[in-house]
Symmetry: C2
Subunit: 221 residues, 2 copies
């Protein structure tokens, strides 16, 4: 489906990525310069290599150019991350996904050949910040500027009322995509809830709408 | 709105969180044991302290019990993270959000008093793994087991057809929540697209549905 994937840099992020892909049947090549990190993955992934990914000859000997996708997950050494991405590009890896730790780092990674750049710490920090800023917000996934998927605690004023009764789509320009509730200790999800769905006190609502609409809904207008 | 927030551990994640909250007007107390990290935030947040958060007396002198929310963002020292969370709980901080690096770490953090646990490296690694496993998938945000918000590249077979024509809701049990496209170099988002919206070749579709439905839609059935 996507050929071999090389994961370079086996910290928390790289290790989790390598294991998840391997569990789904992808042949993963895991690379790190620290032997103990490489060893800990030996049983989980197809191939492990202990080498310095900034060493051109070592990468060449590993035939890195043959992989379909390379993920540079190095997070603690910006210089090593940039050199590695440049080499991956030079060896002809067509899809190079690189982890950045700052905006400047991201720009440089793109300049030296990264086809995609991700910044896990920033993404999750921004989501947590949104959550802390808006009481009742459980999670927020931005979709477009000012427009997001929000998981919220059902506002107290909605308890016992049905979706038809609340008429959120018209009154608040919000869509309720799912209702999550715990029943008998088990989490239950009502996907695409109908108008006759009644909201219970401790429900979590998965909503879609603009930021102003969600604020109005949480406040009961 | 949420009172003071203490952010302890100023790596990438903690720093980004502290800055984002401060930019939104929250009085942030930023704490780290390394002076250079603390200094770099002095201009951005309300209060900085250089102290070892596993030191009970130091935390007490900082009157940590007065903050509304404490986020333990320590990522590289599991022992320090556990001790810090236990102390925050002991000092009566009512909402303690802690960063974990593994499932075991997460369990222990909850046992010693964390009200919420997050694992940024894992969350983003799982999202990237989903993306790599499913060609055409740009991003995936799980909402419930087997049910997710997916950003996908518009499949080639849909180009030029309208949403009404495609009838994705009935044919594929999918909702198209938004269409993102670049027009004249500017990203444009059509939120809640109507039936007359025609899909263009390089559109990104924000969809909601179960995993089987999304696979069928990407494959054109």
């Amino acid at each position: 489906m996507l050929g071999d994937v090389a994961v370079i840099g086996l910290g928390q992020f790289g290790t989790q990525l390598a294991v998840s892909l391997a569990e789904s049947g992808v042949p993963v090549l895991a690379i790190d310069s620290r032997m103990e990190r490489v060893e800990s993955l030996r049983a989980s992934v197809a191939r492990v290599l202990c080498l310095d990914a900034t060493d051109e000859e070592a990468l060449s000997a590993a035939r890195i150019g043959d992989v379909g996708v390379a993920v540079c997950a190095i997070g603690d050494d910006v210089q090593a991350s940039i050199l590695t991405v440049a080499l991956l590009h030079q060896f002809g890896v067509s899809r190079v996904i690189a982890r950045a730790v700052s905006e400047l780092h991201a720009r440089i990674l793109r300049m030296v050949g990264a086809s995609e750049v991700i910044n896990p710490a920033r993404d999750i920090a921004l989501r947590l910040a949104s959550r802390l800023l808006q009481p009742g917000l459980v999670d927020r996934v931005p979709i477009a500027p000012g427009y997001a998927l929000n998981e919220i605690e059902a506002p107290a004023w909605t308890a016992g009322r049905t979706l038809l009764d609340l008429d959120v789509r018209k009154q608040f320009r919000l869509s309720i995509l799912a209702v999550k509730r715990v029943e008998g200790g088990v989490e239950k999800v009502i996907a695409n809830p109908g108008g006759d769905t009644a909201i219970a006190q401790s429900d979590i609502l998965v909503t879609l709408g603009d930021d102003e609409s969600i604020r109005r809904f949480l406040a009961g207008r």
